[in-house]
Subunit: 694 residues, 2 copies
């Protein structure tokens, strides 16, 4: 039966990868359009490829150094010998997820634009298929990594369940580190190019978005692929794997059984099947309205969510037995919370609702008021998600028997996160097709296609914004729950170390080391957001100067008689973002060790709690402020408050520009940060127990 | 000996009040200048007075309702009968502190402008004397309230020490509620007027600041008095009293002695004497440079700080004896931390240092980049203060015997806050003279005085910004320490209630109610900041529309041939701010009760910890972002990056405008919020123990 469980996970991982491969072949079979489109798409692909290559080079130095450190720790007996290798595979698969996503996205952008010449539905099919490739690659690789390691450690090396989950948490650390590099680096690239292009092109020169005269326009499109696609791929690989392995680890702590350990994997595996089935519902008749398209997408994700909600019940009952079947409600709570957070996100950021409409209205009184109000909207929008997470935690904890055993309660919390992410295959597909549509719009514009094409890609793009809200809900919600689960895993881990139990005995919140740890942990998301936004600011400034230089020095550029030097902008963004991405990641890896050495294990727990709480808030705040500004601008562009080119529009563009690093660099990076902090803490736990000062 | 201790506190409170009175008489003896100046000053005074009168009317309804609620609780046996009255006196004295500050400030503004006609030093003397009146009124009234209640409860009603401190914490709640109303209401008023005046006057119409043609100009000056003066007065009364009574309460819990309870009061009383002595050092020769003036101010505050640092030692040794004299180092740690946080604040917000200079440079690439960078500066600036507070908490805890008894350690933390605020008399004086100088500048401009006068008031104002940084350091640092002390008091309080000890036994940070409380508490400062900033935004929008209307409809206004309708702007700000101030305060009072009822006492403790951590971070972030934008703008106005009127300057003005509600409304209100939450929790503790669900 053990082998059956693991084998099923393995089989589903292959199923996901095969589905991704077949879908990719179908995408590539679509025509790419005329020569100009091919040329533009290939420039974007080349730029993105070159960026990722250089990124992986830098990241591999980090991984090399960490490998040596972990290897030394393993030799000294602080870690099992598998840990350094697990760390590497986590990073490798996370990077691969991003790479595959980027590859398929850059192969689909021109194809989507071309398909949009025929109709909206056809465009949706290409773009959504591209998203599916990424979605199923992420889940396929995630389950592959998990099941292969489990097979090896359990059936080849015959490790205990505790040792297995401990090693597996390390590949979580590898995945999180890689994800942070990808999110931060890609996020800086994309926003530097975007901000640079917008500020000089739209605001100063007054030329439209994606105008080929703008030297930063290709860099902007490359950025969508390396940030919003490759970054997101690595990020969600990390979320997916992190939620599963943290739940597995807590399952072992609570039940000491392989079954409890395998349950999260099995849920994820079944989620793959539900997601694949769901994709078949995403189709609509030709000539469908935008509303019909949206409902087609929702039908897919809703179908998958409902099926997993139903199927989870017999699975939980079968695995945990009649004494513990109520754990099922934890999974259900997670699923529902994810949906609700997504809806709250949509309410605060979509221009169909009051907050964003009101925000657009504040542009009437100028730039300052739209900035103030946008920040307020984001801060206010933290309330509902935090209440949802709070209720979810309480429900998951108590239905899983938390009143009797804290371990069981925390296992429930971790399973809620798994529930949220079980159908990641399809939710990610609906999320990841957005940047493809965005790119398609850029290509349509640059290739001078019919206005109608651009309108259709814009429709797809705005559709993507709505579905992305749900995706964000799942990502942020699961990050908070997973971080809490990892905090519990850390405590379990400390207890297994000689002398550890005593060191972690006083976790009372009034213990000054816990409190001080809490303060420092709560500070980290602020510092981290500052570092990444500063990086965007610096990188954007260099792009602004370069674009201004080209406008001034290249004669005939504005008249369309000379070509802009796109390469120099791409190169600038690449260099700037790669230079800037290292510090934040190193901070995230070093701080938990320093806090541990100075404040001891109790301080680390305080730090993790503080970072999770403030990180969740900052992530929601920054994502939602950014989203609201973005859509307020689009709302004005749709004709409200003076429309395009008005003073109000200019104010809204500034808002959107401020929001860019909020929502696409700092916000999503914080989600990764809070998990990476715990994983680093777990890996270095033995060091902290032995060498801590307080 | 008991009576001697209390008597000494009482005597020092009278000393402070007499000193304030004498200083006030000296201020009033200065001439007010020509008729136009008198007229302007009297308009400002009238506007401020009318605002406060209406504010107090609304606030008294709140106090009336709360009094009835507390009285019912007292009748039902959940509170001692003194509590409702203590609540009222706290509110009354807090309001009185703000009122006296406003009165003297509005009496000094024209006098300062007039004195500046003679010289910088003379201007400084008037303005600083006005600040001193406010500083010593605040500490005098604070000590008066404390000592009179102590005399009554101890020697007339013969209550136990525990019952005394419990009742005294209630007047802290009264003071905090009033302070929150004053800060929020005044903060909305002043920033709505300021933002409104700047956006239309400076940015749109291109007329200078404080130009009499701007209809919002008087409202702006009124705002300085009701927000930066009356709000600050009420706020610091609350901080001062809060730190002393929370330390007293913990002293009783740790030592069960009147001596330990009296120590904080005694330190504050001696601090009054040190502060008065310090004021005599604030003088310089005529014709002194700005640097010499600054060193004159610093000499005063440094002298007071050093004397209290020395004198505290024998006091502690005498009161706590040779077994516990190391508590002295907690006080010292508090003092040093306050100074260091002030220096960190100055580093991040003064244009003498890199961060603000760099921020000014980002105006080169437009509004969006200066906004992004300003937010980054603020977020990054949280790191150093949080480390300082962390070290201070650990030192204060462990030198006070926290390793043996948590109560003693927490008493040390509370005393650190008292140490920070012991010389509030003089630090507040250096803080409170800034708005007076600001107003004087406005009057000089409006009355058409010589350019030199405006230069001098500007010099005073910018001097005030530097000294205010130190003041802010003390205010923010003491707020965090006091909030922690109050959290400990809450736990002590619950333990004294029947059945409470059991309900609060599991304060483990992994207890889900604690964790969920932590999440919700951490969210409160975000929601609170959003509410207050939204209020500013809404109020500012109405001012903007009114100013635009007047520019359009009043013929000859721009040519200086017709007068603006100042009254309508004042009226608009008054109505808007009073309408907006109620909701945030009610949220702060109701949330702790709801959290308590739903999550129980452990949830409340989690909430308090979360609110303190995230509140401290948000307060530092918002204050420093705002300060940095303000000074970056001034730096550009000083001639850098194109100077006044350049595109860079326009970008910096937007930054400053965004920063206004950050630093003068949301930021300081959060400091009060985190303490009010604990005090409300303490007052409603019995209700929560009896009726909580979880």
């Amino acid at each position: 039966m053990d082998r059956l469980l693991v084998g099923l996970t393995f089989a589903c991982s292959l199923l996901a990868l095969i589905f991704a491969f077949v879908t990719a072949r179908r995408v590539v079979s679509f025509p790419e359009g005329n020569d100009l489109m091919k040329k533009i798409s290939s420039s974007i692909r080349r730029g993105a490829g070159a960026y990722l290559k250089r990124q992986y080079k830098i990241v591999s130095v980090f991984f090399g150094v960490m490998f040596v450190i972990l290897e030394i720790m393993a030799l000294l007996g602080y870690l099992t010998p598998y840990v350094p290798f697990a760390f590497i595979t986590g990073g490798f698969f996370s990077a691969l997820s991003g790479f595959v996503g980027m590859k398929i996205a850059t192969l689909s952008n021109a194809r989507t634009a071309n398909a949009c010449q025929e109709g909206l539905n056809r465009g949706l099919r290409v773009a959504f298929s591209s998203g599916s490739v990424m979605g199923f690659t992420v889940v396929g690789l995630g389950l592959l990594d998990i099941s292969v390691w489990l097979l090896l450690l359990k059936f080849v090396f015959n490790l205990s369940n505790e040792a297995i989950t401990s090693a597996m948490l390390t590949f979580g650390m590898g995945a999180s580190s890689m994800a942070l590099f990808a999110r931060v680096g890609g996020g800086i690239f994309t926003k530097a190019a975007d901000v640079g292009a917008d500020l000089v092109g739209k605001v100063e020169a007054g030329i439209p978005e994606d105008d080929p005269r703008n030297p930063a326009v290709i860099a902007d499109n490359v950025g969508d692929n390396v940030g919003d696609v490759a970054g997101m791929g690595a990020d969600l690989y990390e979320s997916y794997v992190g939620s599963i392995i943290s739940a597995s680890a807590l399952g072992v702590a609570a039940f000491h059984s392989l079954e409890a350990m395998a349950l999260p994997m099995l849920l994820a595996a079944v989620g793959v099947i539900c997601s694949i089935l769901g994709t078949f519902f995403v189709r609509t008749t030709e000539g469908a309205s935008q509303k019909q398209l949206l409902s087609a997408l929702s039908r897919g994700t809703n179908f998958s969510a409902i099926v997993i909600a139903i199927v989870a019940f017999p699975i939980v009952y079968y695995i945990l037995g009649k004494d513990n079947w109520t754990v099922y409600f934890a999974i259900l709570a997670g699923l529902i919370s994810g949906v609700l957070i997504g809806q709250a996100t949509e309410y605060f950021t979509s221009d169909s609702y009051k907050p964003t409409k009101k925000l657009a209205e504040t542009s009437e009184t100028g730039t300052a008021t739209i900035i103030i109000s946008g920040i307020s909207v984001g801060m206010l929008s933290t309330l509902i998600p935090i209440v949802i997470v709070a209720v979810c935690v309480l429900v998951a904890y108590f239905v899983s028997g938390g009143a009797q055993s804290a371990s069981m309660g925390l296992y429930g919390v971790a399973l809620a996160a798994v529930g949220m992410l079980a159908t990641l295959g399809i939710t990610l597909a609906t999320d990841a097709y957005g940047p493809v549509a965005d790119n398609a719009g850029g290509i349509a514009q640059m290739a001078g296609l019919d206005e109608k094409v651009r309108e259709r890609t814009d429709a797809l793009d705005s559709l993507g914004n709505t579905t992305a809200a749900t995706g964000k809900g799942f990502a942020i919600g699961s990050a908070a729950l997973t971080a809490l689960a990892l905090m519990a895993s850390y405590i379990d881990k400390i207890k297994t170390i000689d002398g550890g139990a005593e060191k972690i005995s006083n976790l009372n919140i009034t213990n000054p080391t816990v409190l001080v740890g809490l303060f420092i942990g709560a500070c980290l998301p602020f510092v981290f957001a500052a570092l990444t936004m500063n990086s965007v600011g610096r990188a954007a400034q260099s792009v602004v100067k370069e674009v201004r230089r080209q406008f001034k020095e290249i004669k005939g550029l504005m008249e369309g008689e000379a070509d802009a030097d796109y390469e120099s902008c791409i190169d600038l963004c690449t260099k700037a973002s790669l230079g800037e991405m290292v510090l934040p990641t190193i901070v995230a890896v070093i701080v938990p060790v320093i806090v541990g050495i100075v404040l001891g294990c109790t301080g680390v727990v305080g730090m993790l709690a503080g970072a999770t709480a403030s990180g969740f808030l900052m992530a929601v705040f920054m994502s939602n402020s950014g989203g609201a500004w973005d859509n307020a601008k689009k709302y004005i562009e749709g004709g409200a408050y003076g429309g395009k080119g008005s003073e109000n529009h200019k104010a809204a563009v500034v808002g959107d520009t401020v929001g860019d690093p909020f929502k696409d660099t700092a916000g999503p990076s914080i989600n990764i940060l809070i998990k990476l902090l715990s994983m680093v803490s777990i890996v270095f736990a033995a060091i902290v127990v032995h060498f801590s000062i307080l």
